[in-house]
Point group: D2
Chain length 381, copies 4
């Protein structure tokens, strides 16, 4: 397939945040270009967005249904190759379902769906479709996260005993929140979990990605600090993993003054790792028997997994966009491999199983805080 893949988008109108990141990240790979979109349910805003992207006006749509019909009406060799679903959470399920069933590959924003039931249903759709489904957990795309994963797998830490995740932001500390915030605190759009749906899922996903460990039990305390808020804006969770490892996750969107402070510490019998999203180029390896080492993207000592996700020499800062693009690169490579006939092609990007896991996590959190039991078992579905 000697061409760029044709990308469509649902959501991502001008003035939003994440849609533009998706577009830039996909195009950063050099393997995709945006050709169509239903950027807003407001047709005028969708038009303006598509125009700002210099799209063919005929492929700027007023709704995802219209887009689906429009694309299907095109000759197969002009249609989009995949669609990125970047709407608020309540759009994820119906839009992904519709495009998958129509034969399109889909990349969807997290959290996967509004609830576990939808997640399981969507998994069925994906399985039946035979199409590629990606879930955007962008933090897994950071090179030093991949380095951490590789070091854990190589046994550098010995046996893992403890995982601590901190994810704190201040953006919802006040009732007057930004535009992007409005829907995130509306349970009809965001789902029953607020903070935990937004960043708790990132926390759970990152633990799983780096360590491969599944949560077996959890005990939580969720809070809505801002008066009148209908969903949690803060949550702390104690975790138990297989083989006795423990964990703690504390997330908050009312952490005044914090920007996007996502940290993970992984302690093993032989060593420990620390990574922080706001300074993503560093990975700290601590030990009791030698000085701390600071692994840096692009520098000596970093393995092939991170190197493959690296674009610039060390000291030339990469960031959020490149991590995002790394997820896209693997997703797009999978589509190309499938197109070449490798129907089993996968890749290093989160997909439907990770989506089901995150929805199980949210489901168990709600059960725990609503029930009386201290610990809630987390099933493997």
């Amino acid at each position: 397939m000697n061409r760029k893949l044709r990308m469509g988008m649902v959501g991502g109108g001008l003035g939003g945040f994440i849609g533009d990141v998706h577009r830039k990240a996909a195009q950063f790979t050099g393997e995709a270009e945006v050709v169509a979109g239903a950027f807003s349910t407001n047709a005028k805003r969708s038009k303006q967005t598509g125009k700002s992207l210099y799209l063919d006006p005929k492929r700027i749509y007023g709704s995802y249904q219209e887009m689906l019909a429009g694309e299907l009406a095109l000759p197969a060799d002009q249609r989009i190759d995949f669609v990125s679903v970047v709407t608020p959470n309540n759009g994820h399920y119906p839009i992904s379902k519709a495009f998958l069933e129509a034969g399109f590959n889909v990349l969807c924003e997290k959290p996967l769906t509004m609830n576990l039931k939808q997640a399981l249903a969507l998994r069925d759709v994906v399985r039946k479709s035979g199409k590629v489904f990606g879930l955007m957990h962008n933090y897994t795309g950071y090179p030093m996260v991949k380095q951490a994963k590789a070091m854990v797998a190589a046994g550098t830490l010995g046996q893992i005993r403890k995982v601590v995740v901190e994810y704190s932001l201040g953006w919802l500390a006040s009732p007057q929140a930004s535009k992007q915030a409005v829907w995130r605190v509306d349970p009809n759009i965001a789902g029953p979990c607020g903070c935990m749906g937004d960043i708790g899922t990132h926390s759970q996903n990152l633990i799983k990605y780096i360590t491969g460990m599944d949560i077996e039990e959890l005990c939580a305390d969720l809070t809505s600090f801002v008066p009148g808020r209908q969903v949690d804006d803060d949550g702390s969770v104690l975790l138990r993993f297989k083989d006795g490892a423990k964990g703690a996750v504390f997330c908050s969107e009312v952490s005044t003054g914090q920007e996007n402070n996502f940290r993970i510490y992984i302690y093993g019998t032989e060593g420990a790792l620390e990574w922080r999203q706001e300074t993503p180029e560093d990975l700290f390896l601590r030990s009791n028997v030698e000085p701390m080492r600071v692994y840096r993207r692009g520098w000596a000592g970093v393995g092939p997994e991170a190197a493959a996700a690296t674009h610039l020499p060390a000291g030339h800062p990469e960031g959020f966009l490149e991590a995002f693009a790394n997820v896209y690169a693997n997703f797009l490579a999978c589509i190309k491999a499938r197109a070449k006939g490798d129907s089993q092609a996968g890749g290093d990007f989160p997909g439907i199983e990770e989506g089901v896991e995150e929805m199980v996590f949210l489901d168990c959190l709600l059960k725990n805080v609503k029930g009386k039991a201290k610990w809630t078992k987390v099933p493997k579905l």
Copy 2:
């Protein structure tokens, strides 16, 4: 009282850690000098220690009982003015009690006692004695901790919503632990709590000192990671305070590669503070409406509470010793004030009430992890 106060010590033999810190810290104040001690239950080691301190051989004792008798046998104007009890935990109660009842002022290491019952009994002894009793929670002596306390009191943070404390060390990650470690994992010497008795109490005390907030409910998970260990070496605790504030404390002594990583974050409606013991000269004030400010010991913007605990100009690092000495300075000033006739003199140093609070905290932790209820009420005794 135009002289230095005469200091005695029980515990603190050569080769130990904290006894020497007590001696140096007390002498740093310029207001005390060590004149007597029962530095070890091994009489020879006690002698060697006393000799290394150039003490009068007659005042180097083989046991605290001998010391008590010896000091009482001296003319009142030669006796020690106070004793510092720096033995393992099981010595705190009997030794403090004996000296208080004999009319001596006492400064005791934390945690106060082996259990809550002893703590309440010791409180009675203190009250009856009329003597000054100090409890060494040295981290309260850091100038930037005092600055944090002052800023909270001044309302800089608005209403406090969330407190997070991390206290991680790696020193007990292996079964082969150092000399100082041996008794800390022996429940007969350290008490039923290991990690939580050692550093969980520091966490609880620091929260109280800075914020003034009492824990009302807690939910915990304690772990003994090292095979065969009889006490916890790791603990995570969810906290609920009055008026809806929440907290999380995660302590561990098996955090491979961590030295003495004690951090506190305090989030309020208007601002947030972060302080870290390993870099104690910085205090970070975050807000949603202006850039982060880094308050530094000795520099502009720092208030009188911190200034009063400051010895060197900014940029000339102070550390653990000076913080320790600040606790001693206030304790010693209290003794001098009492000697001048102010029988109600107090001061900015932890005492018996803080000791009871920490023992209530440990007691509730044990109840929570042994019981079935998710939340355990923390009484105010």
Copy 3:
């Protein structure tokens, strides 16, 4: 002009570093797309590069001369709108000259030319051409550099007294250098200055960009540490500015273990700024009368200049690419403005004057180290 600008490139073959950054940065803006290139003097490598970019094979050229002819042969409404010259230094002058004289806008890598004579000649060409000429000093594109410039202009620092720049890299510490390094130490390709041509020019340019101050006198010591190396790989320079301000620049490419450690400190009578390229999201404002403030891209307290160069919310790290893209964005906007008839349109991007200044700086450095006088006057040409 309701379309993306058509970008051509000379240099930037596969396996290089900076060419790909130019392509990605230009496309990041959403306002340009690569349509043609002579990516290598090796025609095969040029073809491979163009193919990897999915270019029309007819517009993948084997030399810049061929490219010039080929583009001019196209109808005007299909030709490239501008060319990015990203060859080694010895290509900058002839290629820029050729394209400017043929009526194309040009963006050229730094340093401008091989020597001052060429620089002055190229300035004449630019002036005569009436075309837009940009010089890629990418560090000026960082939002927090723009914030620093704005704060200096607003008088936040008072009168500037001292500027210190450190630029240290380790990549040339060994004789066995990487591919990108080979030409940089060959005076026939890089020019008579090695380290100072490469990163000394960045240092001079950043000082000028942020402070607006011209160097009036300099005194330098240049060194070639690696045996047999024909150009400097290290240089330290003392600076004198107008009105008594002083400066120091120390650059080195043999700073073992350093990645791209470019820092600037600006000290004024009232305040001081520090910025470091490897952590570019922070800008530190120090003062003698209040706590240090840490300005962060995207956060409160940051002004419109930085905000206009910001793409993601605070805490979502931006880096080298976005800074690069910010230079392109302003360069492209200038081309569009000219196309709309504003023949005087300029913009916030370095151009031919900055290029002449950097070549004067290099010229004076060489004079100083070859001559006997301690101080060398730096003329304003």
Copy 4:
């Protein structure tokens, strides 16, 4: 000698800074106690100071001459064992000379004297006296500085190519300076060098201590930024060492907002070290072939030289006082060794040779800035 050494002091009256540090540091070692002093030329202030130290009133003197007479009048076994000279610079020479000639050991503050002539004369006095002479360059006492010295000696860095020292403070940025500042800008009291005498000497001394390298040539620019100031408050110096190594030192006391920002970078062919006084527990080792290592006082990987200067476990911050005390500990051990009959006993503390070196450095700086030659040879006297 089974007792503490008896310490006398000249200078160090209440309200000053460094005298109290000397007293606390010497007493921190457990090997000295202050017994006598002429703390001020103001007899009343001297009395108040001595009283606050609970000294015998008979040994609180009104002048150093009175003190010398008074101590000599005592029986030999009651006299002070050494005197610490902590007056402003103009007192160093006459007071040190008088006490040495009277048979007392001396520890003197830096810089050694007012000028090179005095320095050489004092060296003669020291040599004739046979007494122990220490010079307080406290930064050499930091454990991680000793670790750096050991690593350089062990060849960890390969051949040293470049040394960069930054020493910036803001305390003299305004004409209205603090009490301690007044004499430091008076050439009759501080000597002809201001900033360079105060902190330039620390820079030169630290380079020599860690690397053992002598400066062979220098080229400098000194500035008095504050109007009316008679001595330099800023200086930048280019250095040349033996075997082609180069250096740069930039010192300033008008660096608004800086506290005591003393950094050193040492670059070798194989590795590089960075140490910063304000965070003295860290030592950074960089290399081109492995990740950066952060050596920490008290932690794994640190050698015996640093360990011997370490008092607390890692993570329990030590600072300025402990470093100061480490210099005293070695000075006092030398006195004890001499007292035991080892007339050649030396030790790891700066002395008269280091004092001569620093005065040669200052002398050459003045020659360079007053003369016409670019480079000034630095003789080994």
